[in-house]
């Protein structure tokens, strides 16, 4: 089965390591993914803040392309794009008048039949068994799984995992031999699109997230969103300035963490592109056995 891929703009630039790691892990697990031809920007925060019709038309063009290409399932690694595509599909489904208006703007056929999934669902639905089979290097360290906003909210539209204390990423991380920690900030906002205009807000909000993860003993923060990653990683100087201390905890994409567990190299997963150096402890926690997607872990 071919799965469509909507990368979104961040994955072609500031978060290209997310793209590289999704491609590398898909190849390693023999999952065929095909990039949507001639996809366009989803409009992100800017479009829905300023122009509602535009904010629905831009994502709808991509959904119409997926339908035309007969790609029934599209994986959207960027949580913000995932949200915009899902919200568009939902709104156009609920409002037939708006749906015909958008079809008129696009001059394309749009039915709204695509199945839109995020990267966590991609692993859950297509890779659970394969990860188990191919695992050569169980991770053996502690992780703080960070979801941010748009993977789980609003639950009425996304209908994915629990909005307050989601567990799907923890389940995947356990299956690759990591130990997820309990912490307070897994669905708090990192400051998102304010990165350029109000960097100080990002420093403060992301600072609280990074500090809590570090204080509770995580060796790495795991994310599934390029906005979250760039705010927690590239904005580390602002974070450290706000907190008044060094916080060297690295931030990995879920696809990179899974990639490491099946023996892929740091370089092919794009891990060397991060601003915060990725130094991971070897065998800090010992993985006794991995069965039925559940690892028994002993902290040494």
């Amino acid at each position: 089965m071919k799965i469509g891929l909507y990368p979104g703009c961040s994955l072609t630039g500031s978060s290209r390591e997310y793209y590289e790691s999704v491609m590398a892990i898909s190849k390693a697990l023999d999952i065929e993914i095909v990039e949507l031809p001639d996809w366009n920007c989803c409009g992100a925060t800017a479009a829905h803040n300023l122009n509602k019709e535009l904010s629905l038309s831009l994502p709808a063009r991509n959904l119409a392309i997926a339908e035309r290409e007969k790609l029934d399932t599209i994986v959207v690694p960027c949580a913000a794009c995932y949200s915009r595509l899902s919200v568009t599909q939902h709104e156009l489904h609920e409002n037939p008048e708006l749906k015909s208006r958008v079809a008129e703007i696009l001059e394309m056929e749009y039915h709204g039949t695509s199945k839109i999934i995020n990267v966590i669902q991609f692993f859950e639905q297509f890779a659970t068994e394969k990860i188990k089979e191919k695992q050569t290097k169980p991770l053996g360290f502690k992780v703080a799984c960070y979801y941010g906003c748009l993977l789980v909210r609003p639950p009425k539209i996304l209908n994915f995992d629990r909005p307050e204390d989601p567990q799907s990423m923890e389940k995947i991380m356990k299956s690759v031999g990591a130990e997820p920690i309990e912490w307070n900030y897994k669905t708090e906002c990192c400051g998102a699109a304010m990165s350029v205009a109000k960097t100080e807000i990002v420093g403060r909000l992301s600072g609280d997230i990074v500090e809590d993860a570090a204080e509770r003993g995580a060796d790495a923060i795991i994310v599934a969103c390029p906005m979250c990653h760039s705010n927690l990683d590239m904005r580390r100087p602002e974070i450290e300035k706000y907190k008044g201390k060094k916080l060297p905890i690295p931030v990995l994409y879920l696809s990179q963490a899974v990639g490491l567990s099946v023996g892929l190299e740091k370089k092919e997963l794009g891990i060397l592109r991060h601003f915060v150096k990725v130094d991971l402890p070897e065998k800090k926690v010992e993985v006794k056995e991995i069965k039925e997607n559940k690892a028994e872990i002993i902290v040494t």
Partner: protein
């Protein structure tokens, strides 16, 4: 005024929001859960989300002006926490989007929000040109709008070294289509 005529079309903001988005702000009973969970209510907003709901409920022209002219509507991160936790399931982020667009249309944007609005506009300018966001073009466009020329000057060299910054924009093939979408959705 009878209870019935109260329901009849009115031109105040709360009625327009109900008509255009379906969101019923009258359901808000001021529990304050949205404001408690909002990551920017305490430090950034002059009116937290629950107060914006209340200001709109009064149907008072002055209060509506205060909302349209507020900084709060622009500093809202659309993190969706308020909507997720609201016991009455009021879609506050949709209200925020709506009020932002009214505020722009009527020329009532808060001066403090200039950098935020400029960044959204620079973002849209970039995708209008090429169909995809060109990050460098976006930041340069933002600097030209705000004159914050030194903003993030130290970030670019490291991004470049890490292969994260493209000098040239990635263009989609059917640029004409994107142009057409912009043309049809931009308000006259």
């Amino acid at each position: 005024m009878s209870a019935h005529s109260h329901q009849v079309e009115k031109n105040n903001l709360i009625s327009l929001i109900k008509k255009d988005t379906g969101v019923n702000i009258h359901k808000c009973y001021q529990c304050g859960k949205c404001s408690a969970g909002c990551p920017v209510a305490l430090d950034e907003m002059e009116y937290p989300p629950s107060m914006i709901m209340r200001l709109l409920q009064t149907e008072d022209a002055e209060n509506e002006e205060a909302v349209k002219k507020s900084y709060a509507i622009w500093v809202c991160l659309t993190c969706e926490m308020c909507y997720t936790r609201c016991p009455m399931e009021i879609d506050i982020p949709t209200v925020m989007d709506y009020v932002r667009q009214v505020s722009i249309k009527e020329g009532k944007t808060n001066p403090k929000a200039k950098s935020i609005i400029s960044s959204h506009q620079a973002f849209l300018d970039s995708i209008k040109r090429t169909g995809r966001l060109h990050e460098l073009g976006f930041v340069m466009g933002y600097k030209l709008k705000t004159f914050e020329m030194m903003k993030d000057a130290t970030l670019a060299p490291t991004m470049m070294k890490k292969g994260k910054l493209h000098i040239f924009a990635e263009k989609i093939k059917d640029k004409a289509h994107i142009n057409n979408i912009f043309k049809k959705t931009e308000k006259k």
